[in-house]
């Protein structure tokens, strides 16, 4: 069999009604395909379950981003005010230890440190969410491979697309193409990477 000259991202089938795409996705899932994604002009009931949508790791990333922010602020406030435990001092350079006396309060005034800790937790968690989302969406590539298929532009108006991706272990160009054609789509096209 000839190896394709262009790397294939997957195969996309175009459907005309929401019912068709939900049926198609259900059949594809039952046939054992896992790496697939559906595209539609509006939210379609049950499609979510039909494609076997898996949640991303973004919440976990955001959690650890927030945790990093908390400890960054904790370290920053504690060390700049000289409130770190004294056994650490021998390990610090001389110029670093500069205790701040603020109104005679203890050096380790943790209640005052909580607002910056809170702020950095939120900041780091949101930055991680935004950039994590971009990375999980394939950044730095600035477009989705499906836009290589000219007909795909109709996804924002009146057509429904089901894409089975080449990374699926069950994917095989001829077999999958036949399978998709068996679902009576309007058209099946190859998606170049």
């Amino acid at each position: 069999m000839d190896a394709p000259k262009v790397k294939i991202y997957g195969l996309v089938a175009e459907f005309e009604t929401p019912t068709q795409i939900v049926d198609a996705a259900n059949q594809a899932r039952e046939a054992g395909y896992t790496a697939m994604e559906a595209y539609s002009p509006f939210p379609v009931m049950d499609l979510h379950e039909a494609v076997g949508f898996k949640r991303t790791m973004l919440p976990t990333l955001a959690f650890f981003g927030g945790l990093t922010g908390f400890f960054t602020a904790f370290t920053l406030t504690t060390f700049t005010s000289g409130g770190a435990p004294s056994f650490i001092n021998p390990f610090l350079p001389d110029w670093f230890y500069y205790p701040l006396n603020i109104g005679g309060r203890p050096l380790n005034s943790w209640p005052a440190f909580i607002p910056p800790e809170f702020e950095l937790t939120v900041l780091f968690a949101s930055i991680t969410s935004v950039f994590g989302m971009l990375l999980l969406n394939g950044y730095p590539r600035l477009y989705h491979p499906l836009f290589n298929v000219p007909r795909f532009s109709r996804v924002t108006t009146d057509r429904f697309f089901l894409c089975i991706e080449a990374k699926d272990s069950k994917f095989d160009l001829q077999g999958t193409k036949q399978f998709l054609e068996g679902l009576q789509p309007y058209e099946v096209s190859e998606v170049p990477e």
Binding site: P111, A112, I114
Partner: protein, 391 residues
């Protein structure tokens, strides 16, 4: 027409009888204790009373919020909230015993109060006749609002007249403003004036919000337990539960924000009139309560409810809400306990009996009220729409 399942109905009748018995017994034992420790009894009674008042008043606030804001979540627990708000009638009756203990509870109500210069300056507001007038007015307003909303609810059920929706909004919008003012002033009357020299502008907000938080927690528990089996189950789907879980998480964060802000401002200012309040709460054994509150009322539920599945699975949300019901008590103990016995941690026996007494009566009255109406407001305009939820 949605109905309560037979299984739940049987259990509910049993719980109602038992809690009524426990209530009568608890209050009876507490009444005997007045003879031994009068001051202690009234202190315990006040804490227990505020704990259940919070659920009743918070139900009224949540009911008005959902009438103004709409949403599927509000529709699903509307009848629970109405039943909860009608318990304010019983709470008004349960408030009466406190009137006999005013001198025990409040320094400003004692005969020699005016010798204190600060109390003398505050006596224009903090005096017994005005206190009684205020409580009479406030309770009439709350009970009036609760029963008016239930009255229109019944009318809606009977006639299905769509113009009744206007009444809900017309009562709820201004009602929320009135609620904020009256509950805010009540927090000063009942709780803040125990430390009569002390004041905090965050306190009324914290108190009023504490009511809403208590009510939300109670109704999550009630909803999960009462909607089991039968066709009410459709309001216990993962998407509904996640709405309540997210509310709970958000409300817990806001409670922490308010509690901590009040502490931080007083800690930073470090003024002689303000700090004793917190010194009482971080010494003499009360610091344990403060730490339990920080961990149990914030850290644990926060981390637990962050997980998406904890909010969607019935059993885990139920566990979280039950745990929070306990923590609400710790919060009210922290609110008043250190002011009543500043130097040493003290949890009297009468605290347990008062809690059981008021709680037993309150719970049986709540179940009685909940049985008066069909469990779902079938002619609410929201009932016609099949709930469509984002995932």
């Amino acid at each position: 027409m949605a109905t309560i399942s037979d299984h739940v109905r049987t259990n509910m009748a049993l719980v109602q009888r038992i809690s009524f018995g426990v209530g009568v017994l608890g209050l009876g034992v507490s009444a005997v204790m007045i003879g031994f420790e009068k001051k202690e009894f009234f202190e315990s009674y006040l804490i227990a009373f505020i704990y259940f008042f919070a659920i009743g008043a918070g139900s009224l606030a949540l009911l008005m919020i959902q009438h103004v804001a709409g949403g599927a979540w509000g529709f699903s627990i509307r009848r629970l909230l109405e039943a909860g708000s009608r318990t304010l009638l019983l709470l008004a009756v349960l408030f009466v015993p406190l009137l006999f203990g005013l001198p025990e509870l409040y320094q400003w109500a004692r005969p020699d109060a005016l010798k204190d210069r600060i109390i003398e300056l505050k006596s224009g507001y903090l005096n017994v006749p005005f206190f009684l007038i205020r409580q009479a007015i406030f309770f009439s307003i709350w009970i009036g609002l609760a029963y008016a909303l239930s009255y229109f609810s019944r009318k809606e059920d009977e006639t299905g007249d769509e113009s009744i929706g206007w009444w809900f909004k017309a009562l709820s919008g201004p009602g929320l403003v009135v609620f904020a003012v009256t509950v805010g002033l009540t927090s000063v009357d009942w709780a803040m004036s125990v430390d009569v020299h002390w004041y905090s502008s965050m306190y009324p907000v914290l108190f009023a919000f504490g009511c809403i938080l208590s009510a939300l927690i109670f109704h999550i528990v009630a909803m999960i337990l009462l909607y089991q089996g039968g066709d009410l189950e459709k309001y216990l789907t993962k998407n509904y539960l996640r709405d309540f879980g997210s509310f709970l998480l958000g409300f817990i964060i806001f409670w922490t924000y308010l509690t901590f802000s009040q502490f931080l401002l007083i800690w930073c200012a470090n003024l002689k009139e303000e700090v004793p309040y917190y010194i009482n709460r971080i010494s003499g054994g009360w610091q344990i309560v403060t730490i339990i509150l920080a961990i149990g009322h914030f850290a644990l539920p926060f981390l637990f409810l962050l997980r998406r599945e904890s909010k969607r699975v019935r059993s885990s949300l139920l566990i979280a809400a039950c745990f929070m019901l306990l923590m609400r008590f710790v919060d009210y103990l922290y609110l008043l306990g250190p002011s009543f016995s500043p130097k040493h941690f003290h949890l009297p026996v009468s605290q347990v009996t008062c809690l059981l007494g008021i709680g037993g009566l309150w719970l049986s009255f709540f179940i009685y009220q909940w049985n008066l109406y069909p469990p779902i407001a079938a002619r609410d305009p929201r009932a016609l729409k099949e709930p469509v939820h984002g995932v």
